[in-house]
Point group: C2
Chain length 530, copies 2
């Protein structure tokens, strides 16, 4: 692509994206020159990647019906350009040179971490045989298509051969990436959560499960607790949009650097160092879907807004991992947004938009928004049962990759595990093993990051409170800035300069532990269920 560079437009681009501070910090040297070339090259790749993000954002906000095939072609073509740049010999050569240079010596500096992260990503990108990459891409495209047809028809049999192929291909991939290590699942997990080890996660998740299963049983079988009715009614969607926008701005999402839109499956995406877009969905019969979709995605968005714009597209300006990302969304959605203090502050405001809430008390709405119910569907689960949905998926997918469980036996294993952990058994595979798209999309090793996010969030809240004092009191007054600033300083601004476990351990002052999450759930839920 070197032939592209000399144009005036690209000269302008390079000028714009070269960080001045960087030029000061590095002495004139061969390594500095190579780093500057690498930096510019990666920033250009990021321009393509953020353009891809726009293509996808637009696809989910109102792409005309017949435009989908051309959109797929645009995405495919740009993805090809990105892949070519990410695996180019030119980049590989620079990274080889840099990783042996003095610039790589401090692995936690912005420059050192970026070299380490880029080298790690490059090696992963070139390590897999092109043929396997293609076979996986094809299998998951077909897999998702078949899944979306089989799920409503409750037809696991037609999905089974595709799932079997996907699991087999990802086992092959894991074997190559594992480089002889005995735990194949580690190398899949590592793609979503850098350096996470299956053994560590098993230990922490086991502790969690041992206490969570009896806690949930105790609550759901108590016969008491909230009925969830105060949050139902008629809620004008135009008003919900205004309210969600206002709440997101109050907690700290910057609308001069972002947008909030409507979609079918809420998500957050980044289109540039100052362009963060969150999307939620609204339900005319309950305001909680729109509001908590917004708060969840605003948590993701505020993390992205706290990363360094100067290092955008490089590891020093990227999120640390999916687990850390999820910790930010769950913290704002649940630990802030479902707290009693939040509703002390928020209810009088919400009543201005929704007069039907005028006769609802803070205690009542707080209780209803925290109702615990053993259900079959993950995405509708409350804070306590949610983790059980994740834990059993983690166990099952690990067994699939290890070869201890066959895809044929998956529906039964799924149902047995639901019965054991949640006391409910799916009536069919549509609300059972086929409920999530993840496995059809090849996402194996992804699920545990959801519960890691909850664990991290609880650890971070304990540490923040130790330093800031009574956070509930602040939230009760609508003062969210101290908490956000603490997260900016202790999590966001570090990007990928530390490995996720190091980052959280440093911020939380303790290593990975499920205790804060369990403590939080017990303290919150037991009083609601006498």
């Amino acid at each position: 692509m070197a032939a592209l560079r000399p144009s005036a437009a690209l000269d302008r681009l390079s000028r714009r994206t070269s960080p001045k501070s960087l030029e000061l910090k590095l002495k004139s040297s061969q390594s500095q020159t190579v780093f500057q070339l690498t930096y510019n090259y990666v920033r250009e790749t990021a321009l393509l990647e953020s353009t891809l993000a726009l293509l996808e954002w637009d696809e989910h906000t109102g792409l005309p019906y017949h435009a989908a095939p051309n959109r797929a072609d645009q995405v495919t073509f740009l993805s090809g350009l990105v892949h070519q740049r990410k695996t180019s010999q030119e980049l590989g050569g620079w990274l080889n040179e840099l990783s042996h240079s003095e610039l790589a010596q401090n692995p936690n500096s912005e420059v050192g971490a970026s070299i380490r992260g880029l080298k790690r990503d490059f090696d992963k990108n070139v390590q897999l045989p092109q043929d396997l990459v293609k076979r996986i891409a094809h299998a998951v495209t077909v897999g998702q298509q078949i899944w979306s047809e089989a799920k409503p028809k409750n037809d696991f049999a037609s999905f089974l051969p595709h799932l079997t192929e996907i699991v087999q291909l990802r086992r092959e991939e894991a074997a190559i990436l594992a480089n002889g290590s005995p735990c194949k699942y580690d190398s899949l997990l590592d793609q979503y959560e850098e350096d996470a080890l299956t053994a560590n996660i098993m230990e922490v998740f086991s502790e969690l499960r041992e206490q969570l299963v009896p806690l949930v049983q105790g609550l759901t079988q108590s016969g008491s607790g909230p009925d969830g009715k105060s949050i139902l009614g008629e809620f004008d969607i135009a008003k919900q949009k205004e309210f969600s926008h206002w709440v997101a701005a109050q907690v700290g999402f910057e609308f001069e650097r972002g947008r909030l839109d409507e979609t079918i499956h809420p998500f957050c995406t980044t289109l540039g160092p100052h362009d963060h877009r969150i999307l939620t969905r609204y339900d005319a019969h309950s305001f909680s879907s729109g509001l908590y979709g917004t708060l969840h995605e605003a948590g993701h968005g505020m993390y992205e807004q706290g990363l360094s714009p100067e290092w955008f597209g490089l590891p020093a300006g990227c999120a640390a991992s999916l687990g850390v990302h999820e910790s930010q969304s769950r913290l704002w959605e649940n630990m802030v947004g479902r707290s009693k203090a939040f509703w002390h502050w928020c209810l009088p405001h919400a009543q201005k938009w929704f007069p039907s809430l005028n006769h609802v008390s803070v205690d009542r709405i707080y209780a209803d928004l925290n109702r615990v119910e053993a259900s079959l569907v993950r995405i509708e689960a409350d804070e306590a049962t949610y983790n059980l949905h994740i834990l059993l998926r983690f166990e099952l997918e690990r067994e699939l990759i290890d070869g201890n469980l066959k895809c044929d036996d998956l529906p039964r294993a799924w149902a047995d595990r639901y019965e054991a952990y949640l006391g409910v058994r799916p009536a069919n595979d549509s609300e059972g093993v086929m409920q999530d798209v993840h496995w059809a999309a090849g996402l194996i090793g992804y699920f545990p990051t959801y519960t890691l996010g909850n664990i991290f969030a609880a650890q971070l809240m304990v540490a923040a409170e130790r330093e800031l004092g009574d956070i509930s009191e602040m939230i009760g007054k609508g003062e969210f800035r101290p908490l956000l600033d603490w997260l900016r300083t202790n999590v966001h601004k570090h990007g990928r300069c530390y490995k996720p476990t190091e980052l959280i351990a440093s911020a939380a002052g303790e290593k990975l532990s499920s205790k804060p999450l369990l403590q939080y759930l017990e303290n919150k839920l037991k009083p609601l269920y006498r």
Copy 2:
């Protein structure tokens, strides 16, 4: 870029974008192989160009405030990729070979016209020295910036050196492209209106001016005529959006292949063969701005929707010229949308959205929407005076390029010409010579396409009526399909297979003539001014 091709994703892409009919039509031959390579290559370029269109659409529909610099970088980078592909030796070699092959023999067939058009575009793209291209790009970037600051301050002096430089650079460009021909302006005009000749346009525009100046003077000095008040009031913007959407769908804009959105300066853009986006702006005090913005852009959009999806991105699937494009927008906006028949049909519907129109008659609203007023600002002009705004710009910019007028003397020449043609004189340069961005953006040779559009539209309406019978009667019943189908058959489906004047002459059954436009304006306006 050949190294990119072998990926599975791109194989899939090529399969998808190869027209089956094409493979049948062409016998196996070397030329066929080269044509197929060219076709695939140009379609891939079109994927990048339509992605650029999305970046620009999104920029005008709510880009976060601080996201603008990164958006400019994305656009610059993708534009660089497009330019590289459009001037590549590979493409040049193929086009050379094809233009001497048997496939180029019929210049009006889809294949022949595509070869001819691509060769023409390629030659233009490589003919200009890279240095001149860069100097122009720089001058117009700075020029627009200075213009946008100078206009509100009414400061022509600070804009003058930049305008002088832009005119000088475009004269250099014209001299190179003219290849020794005496009329430099021809080669600028040709960039917007293929094969249009200054001499021809001068002749037709002179005829128009000679009759239009007295017509407008007669009307505006008559002391009678509509006062324009029935269309003013309070019009809820949410309701205007619904109404505009409904009207666009009624006239034939396909929403399964398009969208209607809100922006500051209305436009139409194409993001794919089935993705056409129109944008309008709304005024809470008058529904005409939103409605006529919609109808104008829907006219552009329906033209794009009538092009061949199979030839998307190639000349056979592109609009013939800016003038032909403008003929479609002005036809639907004015000749349909401002007709009395349209309001016979539309008023009862409009009253459902806007009860304040309940006491307005068809005659009254029709008259008010067609009020003629000699004004200083082009974009606010009525159908009759609009062309005078254009004619004087055409004259002035031609004199600038010929060297008969200096930029220093432009403000005075502008004011004199407004006085002569419209009887009004600007009080300052802000509402005078600096009102439009075109010259600051280097767009010299572009203005005449606006009036060509009006002339073409009037010629097309006469021909359509000759074939279809009483079009007013159809419009009065809300039957727009016969007119749209006639335009599809006689204009849209031919893409760029014919030169614009050939296309219009063939559809209209006569060569370029201002008579139908003058006749139309006289028939319509004289009865409104007794």
